[in-house]
């Protein structure tokens, strides 16, 4: 009994020691730039850029595989921040600022299939199997993923109406004057 305890203790300590040393010396350093870029991106994991989420998008940006104009919901503000961080100039001539939109479900077409609910990354759609689905407009960030999965084309994007609650004082126009390098 004592021998067994001793053997297991020694085994545990040795293997633990090896793991400890390995984690110290073989650690894979995360790219700090990647983390910083990730912090700039909206973080809603909407997937409009073509990457799975903001993490992979940031990784691609850090490697220079993706253009800094990749993030539609981020708009001009995110492009400018990314440009500053990466020290590149952005070509904003072809950039059209997308109006903020939210999804709207035509109730006479909804068949309660829950596909849009599963697709929504911000839980902005409430509903259950064979029951009416409704978009909660406040969390909806207009990623249009639900539009593409709806089997009956019951979802459309509508611009957010400007009301006293949604109106924002627009920021002054800024010019992109960030030197390369």
């Amino acid at each position: 009994m004592l021998i067994a305890v001793a053997i297991l203790t020694i085994l545990g300590l040795t293997l633990g020691g090896i793991l400890g040393v390995a984690s110290r010396f073989l650690a894979v350093k995360g790219n700090p730039l990647e983390e910083e870029l990730k912090a700039i991106l909206p973080g809603s994991q909407c997937g409009q850029c073509g990457y799975v989420g903001c993490g992979p998008a940031a990784a691609a940006l850090a490697k220079g595989e993706a253009p800094i104009t990749l993030c539609p919901p981020g708009g001009k503000a995110v492009i400018e921040k990314l440009a500053q961080k990466l020290g590149v100039t952005a070509d904003l001539s072809g950039h059209e600022e997308k109006e903020p939109e939210y999804a709207y479900i035509f109730e006479d077409k909804c068949i309660g299939c829950t596909r849009c609910i599963r697709e929504c990354s911000v839980d902005a759609i409430m509903g259950a199997n064979k029951l009416m689905h409704t978009v909660i407009t406040e969390p909806c960030h207009g990623c249009e993923k639900c539009v593409s999965v709806c089997p009956t084309e019951a979802i459309v994007m509508v611009p957010i109406p400007v009301t006293i609650n949604t109106w924002h004082w627009s920021k002054p126009e800024t010019k992109m004057e960030i030197a390369a390098g």
């Binding site: 068949i111 839980d123 409430m126 029951l131 009416m132 409704t134 406040e138």
Partner: protein, 103 residues
């Protein structure tokens, strides 16, 4: 926070969605939370015994015990008959999309 949990009760209409944040005691059931939230006062058309409700897209029973940060959703019935919608789309020659398309 101790033995209190934060939950939300949601009732959504296409043009107006109502979220009622409620602080309830641990072990509170779904039905109790709905009554506490006051949603029935604002929307008297909700008939609790016949309506269906759930937590985050999953139908639940009235005596389900809530957990922290649950969102209780009061559902409304479908207007369209799913079979009828499918039939109509078939007649118009539109294929049903098999979800998750890239386009």
């Amino acid at each position: 926070m101790g033995d209190k949990i934060n939950i939300e009760v949601v009732y959504a209409l296409p043009q107006e969605q109502m979220l009622f944040p409620v602080l309830v005691a641990q072990g509170c059931t779904l039905a109790e939370a709905i009554n506490l939230s006051g949603v029935l006062k604002i929307h008297p058309e909700i008939d609790l015994p016949t309506s269906r409700f759930g937590i985050y897209g999953k139908l639940s029973r009235a005596d389900a015990v809530l957990r922290d940060k649950d969102r209780i959703e009061l559902y409304r019935p479908l207007i369209a008959d799913p079979k009828e919608v499918r039939r109509q789309r078939a007649m118009e020659g539109k294929a049903m999309k098999k979800g998750g398309g890239e386009t």
